[in-house]
């Protein structure tokens, strides 16, 4: 039983545990009694229970740190977005809504959002379908299954910037093996400019993205499929249900919560895709493959438009918040 060394009130037990509570005096009305109780409770919390206070003191640095590295930068960025700060000028005056107004007339920004959306809507379904197909393939016991799974997930543990740089070399016109191999099939040298030709650059980016992140989908969906009750699927099969019907009616509802999370995670990843594009094309040719992250980086760290970059960041936060809330509701994840 806990004992408050400096407690001057009797310790009583209630359903929530032990606490200090003064006894109600005869003739004392409930209001004054409860008011006194609150006062005592507060005093107890602040002075009379050093163990409990100590716990709070222990938590304080962590909370302070979280506020410092999380909320403070966020609020500070918000303030910066209403100012005129750029690294090249000494004028840091208040700019009002100038930066936010500029967002709407910045064609390059909206084009970058469009490019991000394009990559997301193409890459995400392909990663999902391929990941699911691979998960089905590896659902059954087979020799070397664990080794194959380990090998398949290797791309996900490579840093995206390294993966991008590696693919850039593979796609290189002069030294890259991809054109060389295509040349073997074509019977003549192939000089496809994968990172420069408008017709090839998106396929190249999306291919790299799919190569790296399909295994992530595969792993999560494999875990989800492994937990589906097989007897239901077997019963459905006995009743004559085909594969698609069984999948839609039995398997999909069972794996949906996990699948939805995987879609959400990958969707958010694709919304902030940077590394692979930076390494492969740096947003080129021109600004043809510039995504919102690449554009934000370019504005912030190459053009030094600090305040405008903060405004872009808040635009992205708003867009992603709306999309995520909508997606969570739509996918039923909130339940």
């Amino acid at each position: 039983m806990p004992t408050g060394r400096r407690s001057r009130v009797p310790i009583q037990k209630c359903s929530f545990g032990y606490h200090h509570r003064p006894a109600r005096q005869p003739g004392q009305d409930f209001a004054s009694y409860s008011s006194g109780l609150i006062t005592v409770a507060a005093a107890t919390a602040l002075r009379a229970n050093p163990d409990r206070n100590f716990r709070y003191w222990l938590l304080t640095p962590a909370i302070f740190l979280l506020l410092l590295v999380g909320l403070f930068p966020l609020f500070y960025s918000l303030i910066v977005s209403f100012m005129r700060i750029d690294m090249m000028d000494t004028d840091t005056s208040f700019a009002g809504l100038y930066n936010y107004a500029h967002l709407f007339s910045d064609k390059r920004l909206w084009a970058a959002l469009g490019h991000t959306l394009l990559i997301t809507v193409i890459a995400l379904p392909i990663e999902l379908i391929l990941g699911l197909a691979m998960a089905y393939l590896f659902l059954e016991k087979m020799p070397g299954r664990q080794i194959f799974i380990s090998l398949l997930i290797l791309p996900t543990i490579i840093s995206p910037i390294v993966a991008g740089a590696t693919w850039r070399l593979l796609f290189d016109n002069r030294y890259g093996p991809i054109n060389q191999m295509l040349g073997w099939f074509a019977g003549h040298p192939v000089t496809a400019l994968w990172t420069l030709n408008p017709q090839l650059v998106y396929p190249a980016i999306i291919f790299c993205e799919i190569w790296q992140w399909t295994p992530f989908m595969f792993l999560i969906l494999l875990a989800a499929l492994s937990n589906v009750d097989k007897s239901q699927a077997e019963a459905a099969a006995i009743d004559g249900a085909g594969f698609l019907r069984t999948f839609r009616r039995i398997v999909l509802p069972a794996i949906w919560p996990v699948m939805a999370i995987a879609i959400l995670i990958r969707g958010l990843d694709l919304a902030r895709i940077f590394d692979i594009i930076w390494a492969l094309t740096a947003g080129g040719p021109g600004t043809m493959t510039e995504t919102i992250s690449v554009y934000t980086y370019s504005q912030g760290f190459k053009q030094f438009e600090t305040s405008y970059t903060a405004a872009i960041a808040f635009l992205v936060i708003v867009i992603l918040t709306v999309v995520v809330v909508w997606a969570i509701r739509r996918m039923g994840l909130a339940k």
């Binding site: 690294m87 000494t90 016109n173 002069r174 400019l193 990172t195 420069l196 040719p285 600004t287 760290f301």
Partner: protein, 482 residues
Amino acid sequence: MVTRRDLGKIGLAAGFAGTFTRPAWAESAADIAVKAAQQYRGQTITIVWEAGLQSLDPLNFSGPKWKELTGIDVKVVEVPVAEMFTKIMQDFRSGAGAYDALNVIPAWMPDLVNAGALEQLDAMVDKFTYRDELQKIAATYRDNQMMVNGKIYGFPDDGDVFVMYYRTDVLGDPALQAAYKAKFGTDLPVPPTTWKDFDQVGQFITEFTNGKTFGAAFFRESGYGNFMFQERFRNEGGKFFDGETMKATINSDAGVKVLTDWLAENKWAPPGVEQWGFVENLAAFLQGQTAMTVSWPPYGRWAASYGTDQEVMSWVPKSTIAGKVGYAMPPGGHPELAAGFCLGVSSASKNKEAAYLFIQWLNSEAISLERVKLPYALRDPFRDSHFTDPGYAALWPEAKDYLAALQAGANNGLLDLSLLQTDKYEEVLRQSVSKLWAGEDPKAILDAAAGEWDAITEKIGVDKQKAVYADWASKSGAYPKM
């Protein structure tokens, strides 16, 4: 009492003393820096240097030597060139003072000075009597890359300039020359001095050799394309801005001609040249796959196999063309002084004088001569004495011709555009080059680029930028004298 006669004697004595002690006064700038730096013995100075080969100079040569002479440690912070400006500005804005001495690209200097990040050096130049030796830096670099608003902020320390390299054995081949004359009715120009001739010769070589040797290759990757455009545009008579209105004029006929010519050249250049940067172009030239190219000075040294036996140079392809390379001005006769480096002192430094003394010593006539001859470093000759140094001229059989080409380049070179927020303008050019390779129309690309330049100018302030442009355009290397 001191009489007039006594004063005369004193004056005479002082005159004699002056005459006989002159050698002491005429100490080299390097010696002066070393002596003055003794008071900072035991301290450490930090210098920002381009990562890679460039930084081998302070890491392997100048840093250890300075330590030996002065007892001052030199800490080298290696930064990729694309991040140097950002790092310098971040250090300055934060007030951290992490860097004492700096390498800066001359085109950045107006921005760095405007921000207050560079220390003005005039007072220290006078204090440590460096003006005389500064005057011996080749005029193009000295007059154009050292000062902002008439004050010294950096010492030009790298004679970057584009040079045309051509294969003397290919262009001098009698069969090729005869076939050329038969086709065009004129002698094959060795080397071509106009872009019209260059393109005609280049295409002819590709066709004559059936692609075994391509007529030429170029930097086409957008980062380099920016420099190539700036050079060729001005050689074609282009001006970047209307000096009165500050409206961009890069979409003029000269600009369109440059981009149109580039597209035509790609047809007879090696396949995929659109993606070529420094290394691809170098490899093709050193391996004998191309007959002509335009590039920075190291190509000439490496083509002659100078210094490429060093382990750090193992990435450079073995030259198959040593002794078969000629050096000349690029067509048009006015090469780009592309990039280059100046040495400066950070205004946030806590060791400004020690940092200054180090850069004076590095940049001095005696030490800089040793540095430009380092086989592994990338500093190129930038002093008059470098171009005429017998030791340098003896480094390989054609080194004298090489130095003559560099000196001609220094005398006729064109400055990189240098305004407030230059990189924003250059970024537009880089994207324009990239759009060209993506198949967009040259005129449409340049119209869009001019629009973007105007928007940048308006944001900075037309009058403010106009004044900076007027200052830049007044320099001898801004536009060729036509």
